[in-house]
């Protein structure tokens, strides 16, 4: 492991603790200051509907995205959030246009730069929205623009699919076709897609390994 990577791990862990503290500060101080602590009963009733699913998704997303983003990209991406609708695609795009491989240090620095820039842009745009909420709301939250902003994810992944197809079409084409057919046949998979992802990943790795051993890729 290079000094850079070691340093990223060390500093990444520290930042996690630091940000973790501030994330919890919000509900703690809010409850204390306004004397508004929820009772255990209230909290559990609310948490039971959210926590099991969110934790399951969190576990799966953590282990699915870490190998794709590398250390720097992971520490930063998970803290800044909006992974699948922004951070992972922006890293993929940067890795593709820089022509680097993710499991290398080059791949990691490129995905870190892309994710850092992306989070700064996002933070800035959210602040602009908050400050200019009154004039911006009628424009961006209008009925007319709803279909555009409701389709960010397909708009992102259509292009990314074509960009990545050429890497190893013999693996990419069947993996994408079979997965797409599966989702169309069972639309309910949409609501559990983070759980589907590692299964597709395992199948893709297995298929890729098989072709590789046979010398076909």
């Amino acid at each position: 492991m290079s000094d850079y990577t070691r340093n990223i791990h060390r500093s990444g862990r520290r930042w996690f603790v630091f940000v973790y503290f501030f994330i919890y500060l919000f509900p703690v101080v809010t409850s204390a200051y306004f004397d508004a602590w929820p009772t255990w009963k209230q909290f559990f009733a609310a948490a039971i509907g959210v926590v099991p699913i969110y934790w399951a998704v969190g576990i799966v997303e953590a282990f699915s995205y870490m190998p794709m983003l590398g250390p720097g990209g992971s520490y930063l991406g998970f803290i800044t959030g909006n992974m699948s609708n922004m951070k992972v695609p922006v890293a993929l795009n940067a890795i593709d246009s820089a022509g680097v491989q993710q499991n290398t240090e080059e791949g990691d620095v490129i995905s870190t730069i892309a994710i850092a820039v992306s989070s700064l842009v996002t933070l800035a745009i959210i602040i602009v929205f908050i400050v200019l909420m009154v004039p911006l709301t009628p424009v961006f939250a209008s009925e007319a623009l709803q279909p555009a902003f409701g389709n960010v994810v397909p708009a992102l992944f259509g292009g990314l699919m074509v960009a990545f197809l050429s890497r190893t079409p013999k693996v990419a084409v069947p993996v994408i076709l079979i997965t797409a057919a599966l989702f169309i046949a069972v639309p309910a998979l949409k609501s559990v897609y983070p759980i589907v992802l590692p299964i597709v990943a395992a199948a893709a790795i297995w298929y890729s390994r098989m072709l590789y051993k046979k010398g076909k890729i």
């Binding site: 630091f18 500060l25 919000f26 809010t30 306004f34 508004a36 909290f43 609310a46 948490a47 509907g49 969110y54 282990f63 699915s64 930063l76 998970f78 803290i79 909006n82 922004m86 695609p89 922006v90 993929l92 795009n93 246009s97 993710q102 240090e105 990691d108 620095v109 892309a114 850092a116 820039v117 989070s119 700064l120 842009v121 996002t122 933070l123 929205f129 908050i130 909420m133 961006f140 007319a144 279909p147 960010v152 994810v153 397909p154 992102l156 992944f157 259509g158 292009g159 190893t168 693996v171 990419a172 994408i176 989702f183 990943a201 893709a204 790795i205 890729s208 390994r209 590789y212 890729i217």
Partner: protein, 241 residues
């Protein structure tokens, strides 16, 4: 400071602001570290600048969607909580449903007015909901990413195929996600067509890059495809839905 609770109380803005500032600071620190290391690894300043600009351009449309998410949630939860939740760890797809689930467990609706306790219950639920990633990443990131880079070190070619397989799986899952509701008609068809338009535009960008030698398209192809296909969703939606 006034102790009367309000969803837009100045104290809440301060709490959210501190956390957002911490995350902005971390982004700057990591950006500087990665930038410096990238130059040591032989990337030119110009290439890195182009990469940064293209990543920034890439992020604008999804960031606007996140901004709209903040505005949508602000009616019920005020600005500070959605600002925090969508700037730090959270994701636009999860936060709205987390807030709605927590609110409905208390028999209240997000379209009504929340008491301080109802608000804090929602804040607690949303915060606890996003905790797994916060625990797992610092604990397992080193082992997981080392494992993957060792695959690459043992056999470089297989290492490339391994990470490509992961990318294909991710893309396949989201392509599937975009197509899932196509048989239901309406908005499902629009999503599928947006995906198709984005893919076709990317093919067109590839052709333009090859035939006309427009190398700059390499950095901006995905943002262009994304924005144009999002815009295409507007007329598509009015025809189909």
């Amino acid at each position: 400071m006034d102790k009367t609770f309000s969803i837009n109380h100045p104290l809440l803005f301060i709490l959210a602001g501190i956390a957002v500032l911490a995350v902005a600071l971390q982004s700057v620190v990591f950006l500087r570290k990665a930038w410096k290391r990238a130059k040591e690894l032989g990337f030119s300043e110009e290439k890195l600048r182009k990469l940064a600009v293209s990543s920034a351009v890439f992020s604008i449309a999804p960031a606007i969607a996140v901004g709209i998410g903040v505005i949508t949630l602000s009616g019920a939860l005020g600005l500070p909580l959605p600002w925090l939740r969508l700037s730090v760890v959270g994701a636009i797809m999860y936060e709205l449903s987390a807030a709605e689930t927590a609110a409905s467990s208390m028999g209240v609706s997000l379209s009504g007015t929340l008491s301080a306790t109802q608000f804090s219950t929602i804040a607690w639920t949303m915060t606890v909901g996003i905790t797994t990633g916060l625990i797992l990443i610092p604990l397992f990131c080193e082992k997981t990413t080392n494992g993957v880079s060792q695959i690459g070190m043992k056999d470089k070619k297989w290492g490339e195929h391994f990470t490509n397989a992961l990318f294909f799986a991710l893309i396949a899952t989201f392509v599937g996600n975009g197509l899932a509701d196509v048989t239901k008609g309406g908005a499902g068809v629009v999503s599928a067509l947006v995906l198709l338009v984005s893919a076709l535009l990317m093919v067109l960008c590839g052709l333009l890059r090859k035939k006309l030698g427009w190398k700059w398209l390499n950095d901006y192809a995905i943002p262009i495809c994304m924005v144009l296909s999002m815009l295409a969703a507007i007329p598509l939606s009015s025809w189909i839905v």
